[in-house]
């Protein structure tokens, strides 16, 4: 046992050493690499926090419906409130990197599809990354499935174009996009330019008539009304529906009286029920806000607005968008960089995929080795692996055929949901909610019924397999 623990420690040090060597080596080549290195280390921190707290957005909703446990929704709300606070400081001081997304029914539908997918696959987009770091083959398959689905979905036209309403087609063509982009072809292009872009970009601040970067707008509207109040309400609902009864029963058994103090005590006990998750939420929330400050600071230092300028300067100009940009969110994000690396592979295999809006106009398909957001995701897997190794929780696991099938189906649904919602549980929900964008809550409102549908299906599936197993055992006894 001691040998194994020692071996794990050595591997953890090797991984940290690798990321340090990449950081120092690239910086020695060109100081501009510090921009990519910043993404790398924030990814590493996210990975460590996610693994330590077993932090998976899928389990937040799924485990509530499946086994009635609120630990993850508590962790996410803690992270959300802290991220909201740090992000508010970033916005109020002009250091924010967040851009709001259009709000509309499309966010709810996207969340629904994504929610079903995350239950099927066994983890959300970020959860699958950290579980890959634990050596979980099914999670790696989920990532592959999300990546391939997105990269293909954003460029597919043909028969899918026939499903596009004419109003979307006409509206997309009227947007006056650069000639290299063909907004009149491809389902996603017409969905984006013909429908989504026509929806309003809102914030709680603008809804209440405040200036977007004013202190009142940021702290009172976006943070308090947009994050703290709904998060608290949600937690009280969870407490009353899933936790209160069991807690009060236990308290009565111990001879304590019910009342207001008991309710407060119950709420606090629920919040701290999983210390690991609560601690991870705390660190994640702070790291997410700090990430925005750092990326904005680096943009000011290098006098750039987008990492595309950095890639040009270091001689990596393949796959930039028509505007010379690449995907560079300036905060935690998961799915677009996954689409990009497969998009790059498709392109190298001869698929002309740079005429669509997603790759050609906005995000590009840079070489994955030099893609800033890819550095974040790879380091996230690395950070999770280090944490898992240090706690003797790293184990290579090959997926069974059953799990592989769920991973591929779930990854497919999450890939589709991500592109419909312009992000996943992180980009379309967590980051948006924390920054006072109502479209984040709309995506979340879709994820809840999506998770419920997934859980109902898996409950049926589980009972079916248990019944088979018991029938088999009975046969053996006969």
């Amino acid at each position: 046992m001691e040998d194994k623990a020692k071996r794990n420690q050595i591997w953890a040090f090797v991984l940290v050493g690798f990321f340090l060597a990449v950081s120092i080596g690239s910086y020695a080549l060109n100081e501009l690499y510090i921009y990519l290195v910043a993404y790398l280390w924030f990814g590493f921190i996210y990975g460590m926090c996610l693994q330590y707290g077993r932090f998976c957005f899928s389990s937040a909703f799924r485990d509530l419906f499946a086994v009635g446990t609120p630990r993850m929704i508590v962790g996410i709300m803690i992270a959300m409130v802290l991220f909201g606070l740090t992000a508010s400081f970033a916005t109020a001081t002009g250091m924010g990197t967040f851009h709001g997304a259009p709000s509309g029914i499309h966010s709810v539908i996207a969340g629904l599809v994504f929610g079903i997918g995350m239950v099927f696959s066994g983890g959300c987009a970020s959860g699958s990354l950290y579980k890959t770091g634990e050596g979980n083959g099914a999670a790696a398959l989920v990532i592959l499935s999300i990546s391939v689905t997105q990269a293909a979905f954003v460029d597919i036209g043909g028969w899918l174009d026939r499903l596009v309403p004419y109003s979307w087609h006409a509206s997309a063509l009227s947007k006056g996009l650069p000639e290299a982009i063909t907004p009149g072809q491809g389902w996603i292009d017409q969905y984006l330019a013909g429908h989504v872009w026509n929806q309003p970009v809102l914030s709680f601040s603008s809804l209440l008539g405040f200036e977007n970067e004013s202190a009142a707008g940021v702290f009172l509207a976006n943070f308090f009304l947009g994050v703290v109040l709904p998060a608290s309400l949600l937690l009280w609902v969870v407490y009353f529906v899933w936790y209160r009864k069991g807690f009060l029963r236990k308290r009565l058994r111990d001879g304590a009286a019910p009342g207001f103090r008991a309710e407060i005590s119950g709420f606090w006990t629920m919040t701290m029920a999983s210390r690991r998750t609560a601690i991870a939420g705390l660190f994640l929330g702070i790291a997410c806000g700090l990430h925005m400050f750092v990326m904005r600071g680096l943009r000011i230092k290098f006098d750039i607005e987008n990492a595309g300028s950095i890639l040009i300067a270091i001689g990596q100009d393949f796959g930039l968008s028509v505007r010379g940009t690449v995907f560079d969110p300036g905060y935690w994000y998961v799915t677009t960089q996954e689409a990009q690396w497969v998009g790059w592979v498709f392109n190298k295999l001869g698929w002309d995929n740079m005429h669509n809006i997603y790759f050609g106009l906005n995000n590009g398909i840079p070489n994955p080795l030099f893609n800033p957001a890819d550095w974040m995701s790879v380091a996230l897997i690395g950070g999770a692996a280090v944490m898992a190794l240090l706690h003797d929780e790293f184990k290579f696991k090959r997926p069974t055929a059953e799990l592989a099938a769920w991973a591929i189906i779930g990854g497919f649904l999450m890939g589709v949901g991500s592109r419909l919602g312009l992000g996943c549980n992180i980009g379309a929900f967590f980051v948006r909610v924390a920054n006072g964008d109502p479209s984040g809550w709309l995506f979340g409102m879709g994820m809840v019924p999506g998770a419920y549908i997934g859980v109902r299906f898996f409950s049926w599936w589980t009972e079916r397999k248990m019944a088979k197993q018991m029938a088999f055992a009975n046969e053996l006894q006969l």
């Binding site: 077993r54 998976c56 485990d63 630990r71 066994g122 999983s274 069974t400």
Partner: protein, 83 residues
């Protein structure tokens, strides 16, 4: 590896969900316990760390008790008593 749920003796069961990821271990555990009587013991074998966190949290509500937690070849082996 396929899921295994076996009765070892009167009031003693084993559920092996090694190799399974969320949400399967927690759903199989819930289902297995629902088929047992109060006081019965279940040896649960799993290797998905996040499922452990959810299962332990589930017992806060149901009152089932984890009598013993062990590690064996990278897997978690928990002995649980149904409330």
């Amino acid at each position: 590896m396929a899921m295994k749920f076996e009765k070892k003796a009167d009031g003693s069961y084993v559920l092996d969900v090694t190799g399974y990821v969320c949400p399967h271990p927690q759903l199989y555990t819930k289902s297995a316990l629902s088929k047992m009587r109060p006081g019965d013991k279940l040896v649960l074998i799993f290797d998905n760390p996040s499922s452990g966190e959810s299962i332990a949290s589930m017992f806060d509500k149901t009152g089932d008790e984890i009598l013993q937690r062990e590690r064996l070849n990278g897997a978690f082996v928990w002995t649980i008593q149904k409330a």
